[in-house]
């Protein structure tokens, strides 16, 4: 029976070694006076623990064993595309690792060539004209996209205050729109699970800056009216924005550029296999078509006579969105991934991820308490279930299912998302999970649902086989117990801290 490793590993601050160091600082014999301005000098260094190299390594290795990634087992987090990150990607850092972002272009030709190829490949895959790789993640790509939209309208003296967002959209869509100063107007999903076209036509008007959409949607459904959606938005000179986090299900099958999208962002840490790093870093791209190319964040890499340089500055660029060139150290990981897939492999991503999703659905048919909304349509990269029936019948929540899956050695799906599906389980297996591994996951989920009907209390007690059991969120968030750092813990213990007000 599966069980996670468990170590009673104290905080580093609870280590009490003396006169230890984990790395030697090289020292040169130099005769150089340095003077720190008295008023700027720190009195009493920061109180960091002193540790030997072994203590540091051991501490973090123990912590690592109490963590869980794709290399260990399936992470079916919907909307996150937790595909396998091939080990050869780790070699790719050699192309960029030692380069300073401000080096002369003639000294970084290898890196620039890689970036140039990536710009072109991603443009081809999305059917767009040009891509900028400066955005460090998807959300920054969205921000770039809405800022581009804003500037586009400003340039035309349009007064566009509203950004339309599908109600099934990821929370980042409205958040990004709001950061750019737009008012967010939600467009409801129809009974088919698609954008409600009638409603869309109603809300579209002279205030409409654009529409942020993802296709396939977060429900895993392809918006089959995409052509009409596009023409509706374009009829008011609105910008159709593609949240490309979910490209995986259609790569090789359909391209945003061909569907009428004007701006696309991509999460390279999903479809293009940049490892997720325990939360990040990812890497992104924002791509544009036609008139929107001029607004991309820049500069972009251009090529003249086989020499690469940051020569392309979009005419009406929104400017710099990251301090330097984006997460280049991760872009090169995607580059390596694409080299390994080649044209043929890349073209198979949509097919294979879609087969995986629908295969899982076939294995989950007839599971009591688990309901598939909009069940007549095929899914693409992911599928959203609801456990509402089980909630009504035995009190099982989506969270309970998640915890019970942990006890079976799997990571849990995304839960309670998208908000339009109650008690949602959003499952994305990706094309890198083998058929047998999908089978095992289906068995586990089926077992959980069966256990809920036979012994709901036992499910409610899970997880039991992980390093921690369910947590006290009240304590975690309450102003008088909120503890975001050791400093807060210590100060509170010493009576030096009032509740957070």
């Amino acid at each position: 029976m599966w069980g996670q490793a468990s170590w009673d590993e104290p905080l580093l601050f609870d280590y009490k070694g003396k006169r230890r160091v984990g790395i030697l600082i090289p020292k040169e014999e130099l005769n150089a006076q340095t003077h720190l301005p008295e008023k700027a000098r720190r009195k009493g260094g920061p109180d960091l623990p002193e540790l030997s190299e072994l203590e540091v390594v051991r501490h973090f290795l123990r912590l690592s064993q109490m963590s869980y990634g794709v290399d260990l087992g399936m992470v079916p987090l919907g909307s996150c595309t937790m595909k396998y990150n091939p080990k050869v990607q780790e070699v790719s850092s050699k192309v960029t690792e030692e380069l300073h972002p401000l080096q002369d272009e003639d000294t970084v030709q290898g890196a620039l060539e890689m970036l140039y190829q990536m710009q072109s490949w991603l443009a081809e895959i999305t059917g767009m004209d040009q891509c900028s790789l400066q955005v460090p993640a998807g959300s920054a790509g969205e921000l770039a996209g809405v800022l581009m939209t804003r500037k586009y309208h400003e340039d035309r003296d349009h007064h566009r205050t509203e950004m339309l967002v599908a109600d099934s959209a990821h929370g980042t869509n409205p958040a990004s729109a709001a950061m750019a100063g737009f008012k967010v107007i939600y467009v409801r999903t129809d009974p088919e699970g698609l954008v409600d076209l009638r409603l869309l036509k109603e809300v579209v008007g002279s205030d409409t800056a654009g529409f942020m959409l993802t296709n396939p949607s977060t429900l895993g459904l392809f918006e089959e009216n995409i052509e009409e959606i596009a023409s509706t938005i374009h009829s008011v000179d609105g910008i159709l924005y593609y949240d490309g986090a979910n490209l995986n299900g259609i790569v090789g099958i359909a391209r945003p550029g061909d569907m009428g999208f004007d701006v696309v962002h991509l999460n390279l840490h999903k479809t293009f296999a940049v490892p997720h790093g325990g939360g990040g870093p990812g890497a992104g791209a924002v791509c544009a078509k036609g008139k929107m190319v001029d607004y991309l964040p820049g500069p972009l890499v251009g090529q003249v006579d086989g020499k690469y340089s940051w020569s392309i500055m979009p005419k009406r660029s929104i400017g710099r969105i990251a301090t330097f060139h984006g997460n280049v150290g991760n872009v090169v990981r995607s580059y390596t991934y694409l080299l390994g897939l080649g044209s043929e492999g890349t073209a198979m991503l949509g097919v294979m991820s879609t087969i995986a999703t629908n295969y899982l659905i076939s294995k989950l048919r007839g599971v009591r308490g688990l309901e598939l909304p909009y069940s007549s349509r095929p899914r693409k990269h992911e599928v959203v279930y609801t456990v509402s029936p089980a909630l009504k019948e035995v009190g099982l929540t989506a969270e309970d299912v998640a915890k019970a899956l942990l006890d079976r050695g799997f990571y849990a799906p995304t839960i309670y998302f998208p908000p339009i599906v109650p008690e949602a389980l959003m499952i994305e297996v990706t094309e890198t999970e083998s058929k047998e591994s999908i089978d095992q996951f289906a068995v586990a989920l089926r077992e959980v649902m069966e256990e809920a009907y036979s012994n709901i209390n036992s499910v409610k007690e899970s997880p039991k086989r992980t390093a921690a059991s369910r947590l006290d969120y009240v304590k975690a968030n309450h102003p008088s117990t909120f503890t975001p750092s050791y400093r807060v813990k210590k100060m509170r213990e010493e009576g030096k801290l009032s509740p957070l007000r």
Binding site: I23, I25, E28, A32, T34, L36, P37, G45, L48, E50, R62, L63, M66, G69, N85, V88, S93, V95, E97, H100, L102, Q103, T107, A111, W121, L147, T172, M179, A254, D258, H276, G277, G278, G279, G280, P281, I318, T323, G326, V328, G329, L339, L341, G342, S343, V351, M352, T354, I355, K363, K403, T432, A468, S469, L471, A476, F482, S485, Y486, R487
Partner: protein
Amino acid sequence: MSDREVIRLELTRHPWLPNLGNIDEMLASIGVSSVEDLFRDVPPAVRFRGGFHIGRPMSEEEIVERLDNLEEKNSKLTCPPFLGAGACPHYVPQAVRFITSRSEFYTAYTPYQPEISQGLLQAMFEYQSYMAELLEMEVVNSSLYDWGSALSEAVLLSHRLTSKKKILVPSSINPFHLQVMRTWTAGKGMEVREVPYDSRGNLSQDHLERELQGGDVAAVYAQQPNFFGVIEEELEFLTESARKHGAISIMGVNPLVLGVLRPPGDYGFDVAVGDGQELGLQLNYGGPMIGLFATRWDGRLVRQMPGRIVGLTTDSKGRDSYTLVLQTREQFTRREKATSNITTNEALMALASLVYLSLLGREGLRELGEEIMRRSHYTSNRFEEIGVIRPLEGEFFEEFLVRFPLSYGVVRKKLKERRFHGGFQIGEREALFCVTEAHSKAHIDSMIETVAEAM
């Protein structure tokens, strides 16, 4: 349909596509007769029938050869560039690489399920704790993208709190950070005003005070050390003035200096931002970096904080445990009312920084700071000996501005011939040089000799 089938038949095995050999049985289980059935909802007009131009699938051996080939197209330098301006070369200990390459960390995602991710969460809590200790500020998030975006988020926070639009920044601000901030805050119509510096390179107190008088300032920003590498000697007046005039005070700080320089918390700043790149990260051509973001213990600030925060709590068995906290600030619950749109952050880089700092420890951090200062000052002295002067008199840490008696372009070219990369050009004859523990005395000497030759 047919060309899809053709593609499928061509690629019969691939290490990253395990089910190529199982398609038929999987389709049978699904209950469709062809792959195309799964895409029946894609309108023919948008169905992609073309091919890509990425090349044939490469074996690992060929991939590595290609990467080697790209690596060779970059210039091999004798030693790391003498470039800073927002990213500085440092030696990254092997233990840092080793730990960040643990699968359980780097192939995980945001720990939405804390029970199975205690290790990762504890590490993020420790990152926050180390930074809190360095900054002497209580609340640190578990990373934003980089300094530029962290500064932008701080400015947006000040706007949310004060509803004002004016932002004061020193004209010695890193121009890249400034550009990013302008981009990010364009949607809110923020207006940036620059405060000049004096002959030492320090922020002008008078100017600042004058700008604040209007009472329309959302935030005041200071950068330590500033873009010219100069250490701001006096910052207490800034936090005091800001408080007096109802503005949020923000300090941008290179956390590496905090082994030797006064931390933002000690000055009473509301918010601190910066980048952890210098604490254990490779240059990576400028990314990934680590956006550092911290606030004082003030609910008003904390509840407006962008990004993820990990907090300590207990589990149902009473054991100390860690989880994401204050999630109601975030996009997935608050949507357009969220404190930021950030989702994917720089967690693994935060981990790298934490490991680096834990290797250094209290004394190591101080020693490193002192060694860097010794080397940078040695270099500046050597420059002076050959007639390259420092136009700003202020004290500096690792970076300093120098003025050459001739065009810097000539020097820069000469250096490149000897496989050195000089500093960041600022004007015709000026450049910002950065010297760290990654530059040995021998390399410094030989760089200086090359410059001397060029003159």
